[in-house]
């Protein structure tokens, strides 16, 4: 049993949201640099250079990469041997609130979505997915998610007979329909299987897989390659102004599903692909646990 207090959780959540909003991942950076060498459109190359320059500026001056600093999404693996002292949910939301206020990030959360739409002024509530796993640590993956790209996400309850080809068609069609709106070049997360809700959650998580890492199952890896190739033949290009770089990567994950169905969820993430990962080991033992 290990004790982790809510203050530590709050601090870690805050740190990770700040990090995610200011610093882009190396994988995205390298992928855009590579795209710059192959992008055929002059306007496209101009856009990619601006994007690279923007990453550099945000990191150097600790500015939000994009003004839409998103809703605060967290994927958490909570070790079953951890005892949390204090209020778990409050701690996470406090961390989000402090990051967004102290870090000069935009607060975009509104209360009731239909009638009031009042800004909560804290960017809370956070959207929290918790998985309880063996062990005595807490792993956090935070994802500030902007809505230009989130709005272009899609779910299809496909027939098993639609097969791999049907899935790839649906992914490509979703990206085509999104056009310039999700700020291409994008990263595409897909989950096949589960229930409608589970597929949607895991599609978002799939979008955070490292660029360059394929699904270990070669059949799914082939679907990823096929989808990416076809997407980059759509011509949408950087910022949707035409070109050969529309997406940087496609990650497809799968989970078991029902005999009668094949849910497919597609989550689109823009080039401002922000996420950060951190681990909490608890009290004094921290130093020793890291090794």
């Amino acid at each position: 049993m290990r004790e982790i207090n809510s203050e530590q959780i709050k601090e870690k959540v805050k740190e990770l949201f700040l990090k995610a909003n200011y610093y882009i991942g190396e994988d995205v950076l390298n992928s855009i640099r590579k795209a710059l060498n192959v992008e055929k459109s002059e306007t496209g190359r101009y856009v990619l250079r601006m994007i690279l320059k923007n990453y550099e500026l945000s990191a150097n001056e600790k500015l939000a990469i994009c003004q839409d600093t998103g809703l605060a999404v967290l994927f958490i693996k909570l070790g079953q041997e951890v005892h949390i002292k204090g209020n778990w949910k409050e701690a996470i939301n406090e961390g989000v609130k402090e990051a967004y206020i102290d870090g000069y990030l935009r607060k975009s959360a509104v209360t009731d979505p239909v009638f009031d739409r009042k800004n909560t002024k804290t960017n809370c509530p956070a959207i929290i997915y918790t998985d309880i796993v063996p062990g005595d640590r807490i792993e956090l993956l935070v994802n500030p998610k902007g809505f230009g790209s989130e709005n272009m996400s899609a779910l299809a309850m496909m027939k098993p007979a639609d097969g791999a080809e049907g899935i790839v068609d649906f992914i490509v069609e979703t990206v085509r329909k999104a056009g310039p709106n999700p700020c291409p070049p994008t990263i595409i997360g897909v989950c096949v299987g589960g229930t409608a809700d589970q597929a949607c959650v895991l599609a978002k998580k799939a979008a955070m897989r490292k660029i360059g890492e394929h699904n270990p199952d070669p059949r799914y890896a082939k679907m990823e390659k096929d989808a990416l190739e076809r997407i980059n033949k759509l011509g949408i290009g950087p910022a949707g102004l035409g070109g050969s770089t529309t997406s940087l990567w496609v990650s497809i994950d799968y989970v078991p599903t029902h005999i009668a169905g094949m849910p497919v969820a597609v989550n689109i993430c823009c080039h401002a692909d922000r996420h950060a990962h951190g681990v909490l080991y608890g009290n004094k033992k921290d130093k020793y646990s890291i090794n």
Binding site: M50, R106, N119
Partner: protein
């Protein structure tokens, strides 16, 4: 500073003149200097409500540019927080009335409706695309920011920015040439 990124950048100033607008072609890189106004859905809704009541607008629209943006808060010592464009189509229903009043330019990202494009042709106006997500870079060109109306809307209030070399691309010109339509087919296989 932006010439390094693009072959040719046209420098333009606000307020826009009809002649400047006429000479802009879809695909031109531009850098904009002068005052521009900000506005998102909430501010547009209020402006249109005033027009419907026959009242005067709180800002002079003629020959101006509206930038669709809801910036991040400014850090101490900064004029403005990160300020990239938001999706323009949410403004589409309100835009033709403003174009009829002499609005000459809009900066945003994403597609516009047929009605907006028709009204742009009729009124000789231009739609610029700013690079979505290049928000910290764009903020560097914003030298001054003042709230001029609807302060209670926070980041959605109408601000007047003074911009210097604001980077954008002519996306739809006053003849209706539209990069979102003309360019992708050239690269599609």
């Amino acid at each position: 500073m932006h010439t390094a990124y693009y072959m040719e950048i046209k420098k333009i100033n606000t307020p826009l003149t009809d002649e400047v607008v006429r000479n802009l072609k879809a695909g031109d890189g531009v850098s904009i200097t002068g005052y521009i106004y900000t506005g998102r859905d909430a501010a547009h809704r209020r402006l249109i409500a005033l027009l419907e009541e026959g009242k005067e607008l709180p800002i002079e629209i003629k020959n101006q540019i509206i930038y669709y943006v809801g910036p991040a808060p400014a850090k101490p010592g900064y004029n403005c927080g990160s300020a990239g464009p938001t999706t323009s189509h949410r403004m589409d229903t309100y835009t033709p009335s403003l174009l009829d009043l002499g609005l000459k330019g809009m900066i945003g990202k994403g597609l516009r409706s047929k009605e907006v494009i028709e009204s742009m042709i009729k009124n000789n106006a231009v739609y610029f695309a700013a690079i979505g997500g290049a928000a910290a870079l764009i903020a560097k060109s914003i030298k001054d920011s003042q709230v001029v109306a609807y302060e209670e809307l926070g980041p959605e209030a109408i601000h007047r920015y003074y911009v210097e070399y604001f980077p954008a691309i002519v996306c739809i010109d006053a003849r209706g040439n539209n990069l979102y339509e003309s360019e992708p087919p050239k690269y599609a296989k």
